[in-house]
Each structure stands twice: as C-alpha cells, then as structure tokens.
C-alpha cells in the first residue's frame, strides 16, 4: 500500500451502489480517486454475503465486501430522509462522479436524478448501473446474476458443452456484475474525456444486459444460422480440457503451417518421454486439419496425449509449455494462482493491512503495470461509518451536536 499518484487522483466519487455496481468504485479507487462509499445506516446488505473472514459471519468480516471496496472511504447516510438528502446534495458539490444502481426512476423520485444533480454541479458525471438500463420495457425487471446470464449472455451460455444437462453459469460470485462494474468505468472515463473538452457532465446509462451481450452472433445475422446448443462448426469431437496428475490442463491440437508453433513441439516432447508410437512419430502435422481429419486419427493421438499428461503435474506441463513454446495452460485453482511465478514477478499481489483483525490479507492487485501511475490498493474496505467524523465534521463542517441529532434521527 503506497500513496502513489494515480490516474484518477484528481477526482472524487460518491458511490451509492449495491452489489451490482461496487466493483466500479473499487476500480476507480484503485486508480487513485477519492471514493466515498455511502452506505445505509447499519451498513449495506452485501456485507451479509460470504465468504467470511475465518468463516465468522459478521458484516465487518465479509471477504466479498472486502474485495469489492478496496481504496474507498465509507460513511453511512439515509438518503430516503430529507436531512440525509441535504447532506448528500452538499457532497455532490465537490464530487466529479456519482455512481448508483437503484431501480430506474428512484433517484428522480428523491429529487436527485441527473437533471437535479446537474443544477447542483454541472460537471458531475452520474453513472447508473442497472440490469436493463434506464429505458425500455424491461427497465423495472429484476436482474440477479443468473437472469443477466440468460437474457444477456444466453447465446454464449448456449455454446458451453453441457448438452445432456441444463445451461450453466460460472459459479460463485456474480460474474455479470464484475462486467458491469468494469464497463461502467469505461463509460465514466469516456464521459470524463468529454468533460475535459467541454466542461459538461452527463449521465452514463449502463445496462448489464448489454454489458454481457459480448458473444458475437453474426453467424445468425449473416446466415440466419442458429447452432444447436453445445455444438460448433467442427464435425469432429476434439478434446480441449485434459486430466493430468493433479488437476486439468487446456490444450488443443491444430495442424497446418501453424503446427510448427503448437502441435509439433508437444508431439516431440511426448515422443521424447516415450509415449509416442510409430504412427505418432511419423505423423504429418502440416497436413493435419482438426476440422477435416477423421475421428479415428483424433482419438488415437488424444489417447497417447492423455497417457502422457496424466504422468505430469500442472506445473510440470506449464514449465514444458514455456520451455518448448506450446500453447498449453493449466486450469488454475485459487491455490495455483497464489503460487504463480508470473503473478509474483509482476508484483501482482498486494498485502493489505486489516488492523482490527490484527491481520494482513493478500489481495489481487493491479491489472496493468502502467509505467507512471499503476493501479494501487490504497486502503482496505471501510468499516461501517468509519469516516463519518472525518467527512461530516472534517470536510462538511457539521457540528458534533448536529451529527448526534442526525444519528438519533437514523440518518447517519
């Protein structure tokens, strides 16, 4: 944790989001912005989602919360109450960005829609992250992760190899919300560039459905073709995911001129270690085509390869892949990632102090090694209301008595 200047050190962000948008503010905070997470009194609901520190279910110990709120300060404020709304509007005066993920229309109903915020601060950029966007017939629909997969990434889910079972999503934490958070920063930064030129803020309307509509569906657009679920244009059954001694690796054979760089070095390694038969030793990779070969040929080479892989660990295969320049990669677990020599060498991991836990926790850090201003985790996620005094008294000049009144009224 350092005090380096970041790309966004000049800016302040007010973060009103729930689970859908927290990642946006985290990324902006790691880029140096002064991000103030505004929680409802008592703390945001997402603090009740796990996993938890040492499995202790406690709103101050959610590892999910920790991971989504690095580099933010935190205050509690009930913007549903008029006194709370007044405080919020005072904060907007000094803000460059407001991020929110309420149901469309809610901010307007409180009198803090973009048209209202613009009057308070014409430069402010309002970033709104919602399941289906601010407009359209589904704008009021609910959008948990699974629903966003279906209605946004459905065409992609249908490419997964799961024909005898229902389509699945990626397990655990909502992937679609990570995409939304990242995309929201893209939109916010585009708006910031516009502001840099014109001096004007605006609203950035982020639809999670659109964020995860990345899968190209031009084959339908161009040829009116819809593939059967889990199938590809390749008539052959070829293996991509292989068991090895301690897990799985990803590898696929390709032929033609490119084989020199992919299949040949692996084949040589297999032969060198005694797993290739005469047929394999004589095999012509230049002529091989993994679309137009025969299933018999593919099955035979895959059998030999499988026999070889199961004698090696993931890290042995990765070492060989690097040495011989083979496009083979392990299917990493969390443990593998923490032990990765590459991520270590890149200075990826960041040890973040959690004094109240009397502990230091290792976090995934920067996504880019920028030469001047790399992203940096500047502080752990805020405790509930941790910076109330610092911000309400220190910055807004609200007296202790008034703060007590606001607290008694349930506003902060």
């Amino acid at each position: 944790m350092t005090e380096n200047e970041g790309l966004l050190s000049a800016y302040r962000v007010l973060d009103l989001t729930d689970e859908k948008g927290l990642f946006c503010g985290k990324l902006m905070g790691d880029m140096g912005a002064d991000v103030i997470k505004i929680e409802r009194p008592g703390g945001d609901a997402v603090r009740n989602k796990g996993p938890f520190y040492k499995d202790q279910v406690d709103p101050e110990k959610s590892l999910y919360w920790f991971s989504l709120n690095t580099s933010k300060r935190g205050i509690t404020l009930d913007i549903d109450k008029p006194e709370g709304l007044d405080v919020f509007k005072r904060l907007v005066k000094s803000a460059d960005f407001v991020i929110e993920s309420f149901t469309p229309g809610y901010m307007e109903s409180l009198g803090i829609g973009y048209a209202d915020l613009e009057k308070i601060n014409p430069e402010v950029i309002l970033v709104s992250i919602t399941p289906f966007g601010q407009t359209g017939p589904y704008s009021q629909w609910k959008g948990p992760d699974m629903v966003m997969w279906a209605l946004g990434a459905g065409p992609f889910m249908r490419t997964f190899d799961s024909q005898d079972r229902p389509p699945f999503r990626i397990s655990h934490h909502p992937q679609t919300y990570f995409h939304a958070g990242t995309e929201a920063v893209v939109g916010a930064m585009a708006a910031l560039n516009y502001r840099g030129r014109t001096g004007e803020g605006q609203q950035v309307d982020v639809s999670i459905q659109e964020c995860v509509s990345w899968h190209p569906i031009g084959d339908y657009d161009f040829n009116n073709r819809v593939m059967k679920r889990g199938t590809t244009l390749n008539p052959l059954k070829v293996t991509h995911i292989w068991p090895c001694k301690d897990g799985y690796v990803m590898w696929r054979y390709t032929g033609g001129p490119a084989a020199q760089r992919h299949s040949t070095p692996l084949a040589n390694w297999i032969i060198e270690e005694g797993f290739g038969d005469d047929w394999f030793k004589e095999f012509n990779w230049e002529e091989f085509n993994h679309f137009s070969s025969t299933q018999e040929v593919v099955d035979h080479m895959e059998k030999l390869t499988n026999d070889f892989f199961v004698t090696k660990t993931k890290s042995e295969l990765m070492e060989g892949a690097i040495r011989f320049r083979i496009m083979l990669y392990p299917i990493s677990t969390a443990k593998d990632l923490l032990e990765s020599p590459q991520l270590e060498a890149r200075g990826f991991w960041t040890d973040v102090a959690h004094p109240e836990l009397d502990d230091t926790i290792r976090y995934p850090g920067k996504w880019g090694n920028n030469s001047e201003t790399p992203p940096t985790i500047s502080r752990r996620a805020p405790l509930i209301g941790e910076h109330n005094e610092e911000i309400y008294t220190g910055e807004l000049g609200i007296s202790k008595e008034t703060r007590r009144e606001l607290k008694d009224a349930g506003v902060i």
Binding site: S67, F160, E183, D205, I241, I331, L338, Y363, G368
Partner: protein, 403 residues
C-alpha cells in the same frame, strides 16, 4: 468540434484477433480516429475465419471481424519491410495512442517498442495487451482466450461438481478489452491534465484474475479452494435453468427472498407441494434443491420460455429466457427499444447489424460506422497523414509494401 467524447484523439492500432480490436472499437465508436494497421502477411485471423456472409469466404466478409472493428480505418502495410517501419515512425508523430496485443516483447523486437516511440513523440500513450504482460518468466507465452480463462481460474469454477471443468469458451476475451479501454481513457485524461504520456503494460491475465477475487481471498484467509457448483447459489433457491416447452428452450429462475418465493407460488397456483415445510424457508429450499428443482420444472415444462419469464417478472420474481442468437437479435423488445444492434450499409455485405457500446452517454453517445474494407484507407492516409505523393505511393506498390 463534434459531439463525440474522443473527438480529436488519434490512434495507431496494431492489434489483431479479438481483445485488441475490441479495445480499439471502444475508442473508435466514441469518436477517436483509429487506423488499423494490418497485412496479409500476418492476417488478422478474423479476416480469414468463418463464419462469412452467405458462407462465401472473403477478407471483408467475416461476421466477427465486421462486428469488432466498427468505426475504424484500415491500412495495409508489410511491417517486415524497413520502409514500412519508417512510415510508422512518421505516423507516430500524429498519434496520441498506440495499441498492440501481441505476446510480450513483440513490438520491441519489431523496433517499435515504447522507448523508440517515446523518442519520436514524448507524450505518447502506448497500451500493450499481452496475455501475461511484458515482463516475468511467462511474458512471451502466446495464447487465446480459452487458455487464458483456464489459467486465470475461471474454468475451475465452471460446470458441474461431478464432472471435469466445463468449457466456457474464450471468456476472458470479454474481460481484457474493458480493462484496456478504461486504462487508455483514464491515461488520456491524465495526459490532458499533466502533459505526461506513459506505457500501459496491461496483462490480460491480471484483468481476468480480478473476476475471481472473492474466491482468492477465501483461499488466502480460509484455505478453501473454490470449485464448480453447477447452477447452485449460496443465497438463492430455486436457482437454475428450467426446461420449457419446445426444443432446448429454458427459463432461469433465481429466488432469494421469501417475498419472491411467495409470489412465485402464487404465479404457479400454489400447488400442494409448495406448502411442504421442506420448501418453506431459503435454508430448507437449499437443503432440498433436487426435489425443489423437479417441482419447479414440472411447472416450467408446460410453459413457453417467454411466458414463464414474463409472468414471473411481472409478479416480481427474477426470471429470464436463455436467449439464443435469434432471440437476442430479433425477439428482444428491451434491446430493440435501446437499439443495441444497429443496421449499417456495407459495400460487400449489403446491410449488417454490429453492436454499439454497452453504455449510453446522455450527451455524447457513441456512433457506429461500418468496419473498413482491407486497405480501404491506404491512399488517403498515406497522403494526408504521411504526406506522400501519388508517385511515392506507386513506388510502395511496386516494392510490394502495401499489402
């Protein structure tokens, strides 16, 4: 000045395949002038890979190429030729941003690394999106998005607990472009304020791993290794994909509150099984997922996916049809309303429908132009930006550099 956020920003783009072009599509759609430098000596694979329009092969006919290269211009240059490199060096004085997504170290080997470019243009912003970054023991490993998803921990948590990891395609290809784009955009604003350019060594791996952060902390703190759990969710039941009327039609349902559960029971007519104490609380529903899923499916199977979704959502129950490409493009009232896919004229395709950017800026929304034909802007760019004459260009053609 026009109304687009990146009006006046100039980009020299060496990227190919997916992640790089998707990154520079963001810049181009938001108004930057992006020149894609390409060559038939080193094909952008999506120029020459199916699917093609009417299944007829052609470098300007690829479905994916034309979708992820909108709003750009194309110039063909054979960079193995020293004269081409000289042109590029002149071009750099015009550029604000230079982008590539080769394996680490490739631009340097071509003599076009950051240090060289900075000599020419001190405040240049260069963004390299290598799989593993430009440094470290694995920096020059090439690869595709499926391999990167594997090593980034995403396959391990995909699929069914009783099976090998499920295939999730080129998943991280959809992550890296966003990190690339937001970093470039922030660096442009930083340069505007400070005058400083910089080198943005964005590793696709380091972006991908962000998306498993909570599970990484779970391992660091609790020594627990997250693995795949099908469609189960710790905070919802029912939660999954349920079969509907028709072939391979599905509706997902995800119920996390008692209120949603009670609305769901109302929608399906409160059959007797819903009153069973096995299903009365979230915890009991989670403990009896298998029986619960069978009951839920016994209702969905007699509904169309669309009816199930609409009825449930109108009652406040989270549900959604698993769209196939046709549903997504042509039976999608929400995205149609918001004009996500936008019809454009194209000289070889007739019309086609590329996507816009997935966020709408109220004052300066993106503008989508069709993708360029291969080499379409050779002459205009070389004349206007590099200052070449007709004779100079003729010479380059004779020397076989413009391809």
């Amino acid at each position: 000045m026009g109304n687009l956020p990146l009006e006046g920003v100039n980009v020299l783009d060496f990227t190919w395949v997916w992640t790089g072009p998707t990154t520079t599509k963001v810049l181009a759609d938001f108004g930057a002038t992006v020149f894609k430098i390409e060559s038939d000596k080193r094909w952008d694979v999506w120029r020459i890979s199916p699917p093609f329009k009417d299944d007829e092969q052609g470098v300007n006919r690829g479905a994916i190429f034309n979708s992820i290269n909108t709003s750009k211009k194309s110039v063909t240059l054979d960079l193995s030729h020293s004269k081409a490199k000289e042109i590029i060096k002149k071009w750099v004085t015009w550029a604000d941003v230079v982008t590539d997504n080769f394996a680490g170290g490739a631009m340097e080997r071509m003599g076009l690394g950051y240090e060289v470019l900075r000599e020419i243009k001190p405040d240049i912003i260069m963004m390299s999106s290598a799989l593993m970054g430009q440094t470290g023991p694995w920096h020059n490993s090439p690869g595709y998005g499926d391999q990167l998803s594997a090593i980034s921990g995403l396959h391990e948590i995909s699929g069914w607990p009783d099976r090998i990891p499920g295939e999730i395609g080129f998943y991280t290809d959809f992550i890296a472009p966003r990190f690339n784009a937001l970093t470039i955009l922030a660096a442009l604003d930083y340069r505007r304020r400070t005058g400083k350019g910089q080198y943005l060594d964005c590793a696709q791996h380091q972006g991908g791993v962000q998306y498993v952060a909570p599970s990484l902390l779970d391992y660091v703190v609790n020594d627990r290794i997250a693995t795949r759990q099908g469609n189960d969710d710790d905070y919802a039941a029912p939660h999954g994909s349920y079969p509907c009327k028709g072939e391979d039609r599905w509706c997902v349902i995800a119920i996390s509150t008692d209120e949603e559960w009670s609305s769901f029971c109302d929608v399906i007519g409160n059959p007797d099984w819903t009153k069973d104490s096995k299903f009365s609380t979230l915890d009991s529903r989670k403990a009896n997922r298998e029986a619960l899923d069978e009951h839920v499916a016994s209702w969905t199977v007699n509904e169309t996916d669309e009816d199930a979704m609409t009825t449930l959502q109108n009652a406040g129950v989270p549900a959604g049809r698993i769209n196939d490409p046709r549903d997504h493009m042509d039976n999608n009232p929400q995205m149609a309303f918001r004009e996500f896919y936008q019809e454009r004229e194209h000289p070889e395709l007739g019309t086609y429908r590329p996507p816009r950017q997935p966020c709408i800026l109220s004052k300066s929304p993106c503008e989508i132009k069709r993708a360029p034909l291969m080499g379409e802007h050779n002459e205009s760019a070389l004349k206007e930006i590099i200052g070449l004459t007709d004779d100079d260009i003729e010479e380059l053609v004779v020397e076989d550099i413009l391809h």
